[in-house]
């Protein structure tokens, strides 16, 4: 099965982790055999450019974290060109780089900068991409993530996920905070805080809003909050529980779970609380709904067969059909963005682990090694699955590549971290 190949913490990451805004420390283990060796050279820049945002370090860390790249150490190199015209390719071929980037940051005045980057093919000695980005001083990290996405796309043919964000709940003492951070764990910002539990954050498809469950009124109630304005609205506060929000892919409505005076059942509702419609009608527990990416199905957890398994029902309602058959306990379904794979939590002999199921073939793969793993969610490109785990009794976040080869742990410096949700890529 998945064996831990090696565990190493890159000095590079340690350096970044001491950054004042870094809350999630990232530790990587394992790695694919087919990693692309790439040299990300320091950007040429004038003194006005803030030193703390070293774009090349951010980009190298992004690419390394994906498991598909090996960022090469460039500090010992005699020549560090900032433009293709200065590049002596044999020096970089000797370092075994297959690709490299050179670039410079030029002030445009009024706090604006132009970031120019060239992605080079070392073996063919040619330019793969030549791109300009504009950034203000506060946008260098974001620009670095966009450059990482560009490199990832050029060299793998797939979209990157570096300029996306993640949400999670931090519990420090008796205080709960729903946090939003960059995909690399930087810039953590609280969205809402409470001394009652907050669970089940769900990003709207456009990344502008968050649905979540708050117990602030001594019962679970579903809220939706705008990330930018902080405007906060109750979506569902019916008698009994209101929980497990999931957005339809077009953002038009949410699936939620209500109980009234009985067991959990799945409903759909508009964001403004109108248009409530019951989707499942059973005497069992029906919960954890999630829409398929085409919007046609709602997959959910149900114990209608005795033990909890994953079922699907047409998004407009109807007769549910069972989806998982292996194992006695399968819960928390989440779709890959292409709709072809389902991640969920399996209780495997008392160990709760992340599994994926290829939907066309039904083939199941166990991906995580923890014993209390929860809340899987896919990166926007489907390549990585983020989940909650426990390390020495403390809640922390972990990620595993969808092929199971690369693992990461993201731990916050304080508190218990849980309920992660990976958001869409930012524009």
């Amino acid at each position: 099965m998945m064996k831990l190949l090696r565990t190493f913490i890159f000095g590079l990451f340690l350096g970044l982790a001491t950054h004042v805004n870094a809350a999630l420390e990232i530790e990587i283990s394992g790695g694919g055999a087919q990693q692309i060796p790439i040299a990300i050279l320091p950007f040429g820049k004038s003194p006005e450019v803030p030193a703390k945002d070293n774009l090349h370090e951010i980009i190298a860390a992004d690419l390394q974290r994906s498991g598909l790249f090996r960022a090469l150490e460039t500090r010992g190199m005699a020549n560090l060109p900032t433009s293709v015209t200065q590049v002596k390719y044999p020096e970089w071929a000797a370092l075994q780089a297959q690709a490299m980037t050179v670039g410079e940051i030029r002030p445009l005045g009024a706090g604006k900068f132009n970031v120019h980057v060239q992605l080079l093919d070392v073996l063919k000695q040619g330019i793969l991409a030549d791109v300009d980005y504009q950034a203000t001083t506060g946008q260098f990290r974001h620009t670095a993530h966009k450059i990482s996405d560009m490199i990832y796309k050029k060299l793998t043919g797939e979209n990157g996920f570096f300029s996306s964000r993640i949400a999670y709940v931090n519990k420090s003492g008796k205080r709960y905070a729903l946090m939003v951070a960059d995909a690399d764990g930087y810039n953590p910002q609280p969205l809402v805080s409470s001394n009652e539990p907050i669970i089940s954050p769900a990003w709207s498809p456009n990344g502008e809003k968050m649905a979540y469950v708050s117990f602030e009124k001594k019962k679970p109630i579903v809220f939706v909050q705008s990330l930018n304005t902080g405007e906060r609205k109750i979506v569902a506060n019916f008698k009994g529980n209101n929980s497990a929000p999931a957005w339809a892919p077009d953002g038009s409505k949410l699936a939620i779970v209500l109980t009234y005076g009985a067991n959990s059942q799945i409903y759909t509702i508009n964001e403004d609380g109108s248009g409530l419609k019951q989707i499942t009608k059973s005497n069992a527990i029906d919960t954890e709904p999630v829409f398929s990416p085409d919007g046609n199905w709602i997959y959910f957890t149900s114990d209608r067969g005795g033990r909890p398994q994953i079922y699907k029902v047409a998004a407009s309602g109807g007769e549910p059909a069972r989806v998982t058959f292996e194992g006695a306990y399968n819960v928390s379904p989440r779709f890959s963005p292409d709709g072809k794979s389902l991640a969920y939590i399996r209780n495997d002999g008392g160990k709760f682990r992340v599994a994926t199921q290829d939907l066309p073939s039904g083939q199941v793969q166990l991906l995580s090694e923890g014993s209390q793993d929860e809340s899987p969610s896919f990166a926007p490109n489907g390549r990585v699955i983020l989940y909650a785990t426990k390390l020495r009794g403390r809640g922390t976040l972990a990620a595993v590549s969808a092929d199971g080869k690369v693992r990461q742990r993201l731990s916050e410096s304080s508190g218990d971290v849980r309920e992660p949700a990976w958001g869409p890529t930012l524009k």
Partner: protein, 191 residues
Amino acid sequence: MLKPLNSKLILVAVASALLVACKSTPMADKPAAVEDKSPSAATKPADGASTADTSGVKEVVVDSNANNAGNNPLKDPNNILSKRNIYFDFDSDIVKAEFRPLVEAHAKYLLANGNAKVILQGNTDERGTREYNLSLGQRRSVAVKKSLNLLGVQDKQIETVSYGEERATQNCADENCFQPNRRVDIVYEGE
């Protein structure tokens, strides 16, 4: 048996470090802070007022809850109505026979006090996922509701909710630790 629910949570709180939020830069707007408006928080100023007094004059706090405590059967430690926890076996929502007198006493009180409303809060231990545990806890609160219904209490006096595993003891190693988490708490509206 009736240990205060929060005792373990408070221990956790002591060990807490700085909120990560403190060192981060805020978003465009401030995060929505949610205040605790719980009755327990509301009664705290009563204690605070007397200890904060520096003039040597002891302040007497006349607080409606404190005043009623002596007469309120729900608060009287000698009255079975002050017992509010119903415990369950593993993976079970069956209300055990030993809790029948407790359920009957609350049913009697609700029948005699038609304006009283009770909130049944289901709980589970920490094993399993949060949303599924929320549903499992709900099943337990519904089981207690059905027991009350059988004794004649109407649904309009009962709300069933669940906290799932949110109030469960963390990192349990054995059944002695798991067991007290599998329960329904009976809370009267306004408490």
